[in-house]
């Protein structure tokens, strides 16, 4: 564990060094990122404000959901600095070859490459919006609710990561063609997660809770936190997450075995570039 924190520390130091190299420029980048993140959620929030809420959620409950989504994606962006959130890029660009020669388990390599300074703008805007939403919800939360507020975003992160890794496993078979598949998946989830699904017809709601589970990245867990779900709906969330994580891990490992056993850039027509 001490070693793990040491590794996190060196990546954090390197990120800080990048930030400090041109402080004024980086301050501008972070400030514009913050503005851009808040603008991205403001459309739905303004609609909720105008109509007094959307799909059974009042305006600050909608803000709470938007903030939740920003916290989830912001934390993932911050922790997945070295493309850990986009493994198909690592494969497509031939960067896995750098990982082979590092004396660390792959899981550790993928989770220590953090960008806590330059990649924190979405997370910070999410936390800001969350505080604003909580202050306006006018509810008394039990002590265990605060535990859920930490736990459920973590489960949502597993959903996003699982989607990314599941589709990225295709990159082991066609590295060049699938290089950007993870970013397509993650950005699609990011866009779709900010819309309240409650009140939507079943043919929209169910696909977004199963085949393309963007609804599990923000909407459903928010409803659980707000106490607006049944027990079975609440249980579905962790069970589906477990299933998604297990499936993603299985197919990713299978693809990885194929890659080291059969793949090489020179011989495969869609082999990684470099």
């Amino acid at each position: 564990m001490r070693r793990y924190f040491k590794l996190l520390g060196i990546y954090a130091r390197m990120d800080l060094a990048s930030l400090m190299r041109d402080g004024r420029f980086m301050a501008l980048v972070i400030a514009s990122d913050l503005v851009s993140n808040i603008s991205a959620v403001s459309g739905i929030f303004l609609l909720a404000w105008k109509f007094g809420g959307i799909g059974g959620m009042d305006r600050f409950e909608v803000l709470f959901m938007l903030a939740y989504g920003n916290v989830v994606m912001g934390f993932l962006n911050m922790m997945g600095g070295c493309n850990a959130l986009f493994p198909s890029r690592i494969i497509g660009r031939g960067q896995w070859e750098h990982m082979f020669i590092m004396p660390l388990p792959y899981g550790v390599q993928l989770t220590v490459g953090i960008f806590p300074f330059t990649g924190s703008s979405t997370f910070l805007s999410g936390v800001g919006l969350l505080i604003a939403a909580l202050c306006n919800l006018e509810r008394d939360f039990a002590w265990w609710w605060w535990g859920l507020l930490v736990l459920l975003p973590a489960v949502s992160m597993v959903i996003v990561v699982s989607c990314s890794y599941l589709l990225s496993s295709l990159a082991f078979y066609a590295p060049v063609q699938c290089e950007e598949i993870s970013s397509t998946v993650v950005y699609s989830v990011e866009r779709a997660m900010t819309f309240p699904l409650s009140g939507m017809p079943a043919y929209v709601r169910y696909p977004l809770l199963t085949i393309f589970p963007a609804g599990l990245a923000a909407c459903l867990p928010t409803m659980i936190l707000l106490g607006k779900t049944t027990l079975s709906e609440s249980l579905y969330f962790p069970l589906f997450t477990f299933f998604a994580a297990f499936t993603a891990a299985h197919f990713f490992k299978k693809g990885f075995r194929y890659y080291v056993k059969k793949g090489i850039n020179r011989y495969v027509s869609g082999g990684h570039r470099s």
């Binding site: 070693r3 590794l7 060196i10 070859e97 750098h98 004396p103 080291v260 011989y267």
Partner: protein, 336 residues
Amino acid sequence: MYPADTALRRPAVAVESVTKVFTQWRRKEGARGLFRQQKTTVAALEGVSFRIGRGEFAAYAGPNGAGKSTTMKLLAGMLQPTEGRISVLGMSPEKDRIRLMRRLGVLFGNRTELWWDHPVIQSFEWKKVVWDIPDQVYERNLDRMRELLELDGILNTFARELSLGQRMRADLAMMLLHSPELVLLDEPTLGLDVVAKRQMIEFLKKINREDGVTILVTSHDMDDLEEMARRILMISKGKLAYDGDFEGLRRLTGNSTVFTVTTDGRRPVLEGCRLLSEQHGVFEFEADLSCTPIRLLMEMLSRIDGIRDVEIRRAPIEQVIAQLYQTWRKDEGQTL
């Protein structure tokens, strides 16, 4: 003791009957090719076996597409063999990857391990943490690399701003920071100018001689390889075609010698010798010493009028190798 004897007793690398097959899709000719592709297999390595002893400096050579980089990737655990067994420093690259990487250094000339947007020293510090190098070892190695590879001027330069030669020096230093026992170098002199190449060769010879680091190096520059290594393994079409010293390789192609004769302009006629070039009275010949011994050659030369100078030298290894490659291609053509 011949290096191969050491290799048998204490191998740093043991490759036993290794075959590596890749599958490849090929488009068929004609309109049907748009819809149907043919699956073919390519054997990059076929039943290759060799051993490299600890402390050896071995060259691994072969024409383009012979299987050099595939072998390097197999040894570094980046690929797994289709058949056969590989042991590196007594470990399996597949099963003991993490343990092995602490003792192995890998450098591919066409890619860098340096952090592109950070100063070189930052990459070194990153490596110290990732490889968990003790402070004392890190400081000692860093001081040594600074001196031997003249790094002082570039340690605080961003990797993206380095010239190719500087980048290679920085990469080499970074690779050696954890004191690897075995070093795998794939085309380390690729694109380097004469000075940078010289510096690198001298450095590699030094760490092999003084620290006993085992080195396996591939290069297209055969003269570089001959200067660095004592043993050469040659691979052709995925098979090991030669394993021995460079003199043996020369004998394989007929023990040829190249000599230059300077005359007053007259072309000397030398039986059994092949004229390679002719320019302003300077004639370059090639002779097979196994057919035309040096004594006979000197006798012939002494009988010729108008000779001003004679220079005899060994056939450059480049020429020997080129001859070998041509023979292999011819053999392959005949087989086809």
